[in-house]
């Protein structure tokens, strides 16, 4: 495969995968926690928090990238803190690209896992607890298997969103080959360059291939998951 691609294109592909996968898996626990909170708990300010979580989905990505730049840039309050405390720089860095992608993927991931959680009958967890399971054990052994398709959907949707992230990324971490230049940014650069149409087209085809591969993989995984709903499980318990 790499024989077909120049090192520059291979770098963009590899970086895209690295950024999207890092973003999605790093943010999964937090998204699951959020989904659980929204599905199972009522607390003051819940609508506000739910609204805030959806912000990256609703805001224009450029606005979000600009906000990230102001917050996490070297001169930003959080970026300065990260640098002073841990020596971590996010701006102009693939970690910053992953942060932008993760923030963009987060609302979609919360949403699909929240829907899956809401479809699970809380009595199933209660039943497990009457049988002696601690709440975390009940969650892991009963709830998690039931929402596995939802988690998978969250990963796929999140991955797709992370892979396609453009506006926030180019605004926050700029367009540096090998560091922050993911496939969409590489395509943008080529599309801006007179005489480079062929290169842009190749990367477009590559993007389609990656997206298609991800979709097929998710379909295959979904088929291997046992199809279970709360109702099935209840019937099984009886």
């Amino acid at each position: 495969m790499t024989g077909l691609l120049t090192p520059w294109e291979a770098a963009a592909l590899w970086l895209s995968l690295k950024v999207a996968l890092t973003a999605v898996f790093a943010v999964l626990p937090l998204a699951l926690g959020c989904a659980w909170l929204f599905a199972r708990r009522d607390f003051p300010g819940k609508p506000l928090l739910a609204g805030l979580v959806q912000m990256p989905l609703v805001l224009p990505p450029v606005v979000f990238g600009y906000a990230l730049l102001l917050l996490f840039g070297r001169q930003g309050p959080l970026g300065g803190l990260l640098y002073d405390l841990f020596g971590v720089t996010l701006i102009f860095n693939w970690k910053g690209a992953a942060l932008a992608a993760a923030a963009m993927a987060f609302p979609l991931m919360v949403r699909s896992m929240q829907l899956a959680l809401e479809a699970v009958d809380p009595d199933l967890e209660n039943a497990a607890r009457t049988l002696g399971a601690t709440p975390p054990a009940a969650f892991v052994t009963v709830t998690l298997p039931l929402i596995a398709p939802g988690v998978l959907t969250a990963l796929i949707l999140g991955f797709a969103r992370a892979l396609g992230e453009f506006g926030a990324t180019i605004t926050f971490v700029s367009n540096i080959p090998g560091e922050t230049q993911t496939l969409p940014l590489a395509i943008y650069s080529l599309a801006q360059t007179p005489g480079m149409e062929g290169g842009a087209l190749l990367l477009v085809i590559l993007s389609v291939a990656v997206a298609l591969a991800a979709t097929l993989l998710s379909e295959a995984l979904a088929r291997r998951l046992p199809v279970r709903s709360g109702a099935d499980r209840r019937r099984a318990l009886r």
Binding site: G73, I176, A191
Partner: protein, 258 residues
């Protein structure tokens, strides 16, 4: 065709048609670095003639691609002869007239309040510490192409290429220094003069890079239609001594001087 779709199409036409017919609006695609002086020149032109000039600023490479792809532009101003030549070489008679509008110089800039003065020399990589040098993306941004040429000639390209922040146009590189996100950038001298938050550390010697020439082109819109009179008048207006003075005061150089 369903009636509603037809009605929608007609509605769209109603919005498009007057703009096309009147010819009192011209579309200008121009290099990002020209923003301030060109706004002044265009506003003066509109006040004198009543012809509105719609401006779209960006990287010269990107704008050339747009013009070649059928953007309904009447004028194109590139910050390099390279993209002007590329556009002229496209099939279809694109270019009705062409002239060199101005020149410029390249400058190393840093935040106004930076404690240490930087210089274009072997000490630059060390002086940047763990910061990056912002330049235009040398794939398509002329300022980035000139900057790469200068860094190559200085023997600094290899040591700096992993420590650049590549921006979609030259004003992006300027903004990075304005915000203090990079300790330095290579932009045009005119860009540095347009901002109060940066200072020029060093104007690059002209022999470090190919001469910077802004080329203005009157476009025949690719579809063979005649160039509107307003566009031709604005083309002449751009090359007038009055417009030249505005460009000079903004830090550009005369077209014939390096």
């Amino acid at each position: 065709m369903p009636r509603r779709v037809l009605a929608g199409l007609l509605l769209c036409l109603a919005f498009v048609a007057p703009a096309q017919a009147a010819g009192d609006r011209i579309l200008l695609l121009a290099a990002a670095s020209l923003q301030q002086p060109l706004n002044r020149i265009a506003d003066g032109f509109t006040a004198a003639t009543g012809v509105a000039v719609i401006r779209s600023y960006g990287s010269s490479g990107g704008l050339a691609r747009q013009a070649a792809s059928g953007a309904p532009a009447h004028l194109y101003i590139s910050a390099s002869e390279q993209w002007a030549d590329w556009l002229a070489s496209r099939p279809g008679d694109f270019v009705a007239a062409r002239a060199v509008l101005a020149g410029n110089r390249l400058a190393l800039i840093q935040p106004r309040d930076a404690p240490e003065a930087l210089a274009l020399g072997p000490g630059l990589p060390a002086a940047l510490a763990d910061g990056r040098l912002a330049i235009g993306d040398p794939l398509h941004v002329p300022a980035g192409i000139y900057a790469r040429a200068a860094l190559r000639k200085l023997g600094l390209w290899e040591s700096l290429r992993g420590r650049l922040a590549l921006m979609p146009d030259v004003r992006g590189a300027l903004a990075m220094v304005e915000r203090g996100e990079t300790p330095a950038a290579i932009v045009y001298r005119s860009d540095a003069l347009a901002s109060r938050k940066v200072r020029v550390a060093e104007v690059a010697p002209a022999e470090l890079h190919p001469p910077i020439r802004y080329v203005v082109m009157l476009l025949a819109a690719g579809d063979g239609s005649a160039v509107p009179a307003g566009a031709r008048t604005f083309y002449d207006w751009l090359l007038s001594p009055a417009a030249g003075e505005i460009l000079l005061s903004a830090g550009f150089t005369r077209p014939d001087t390096p």
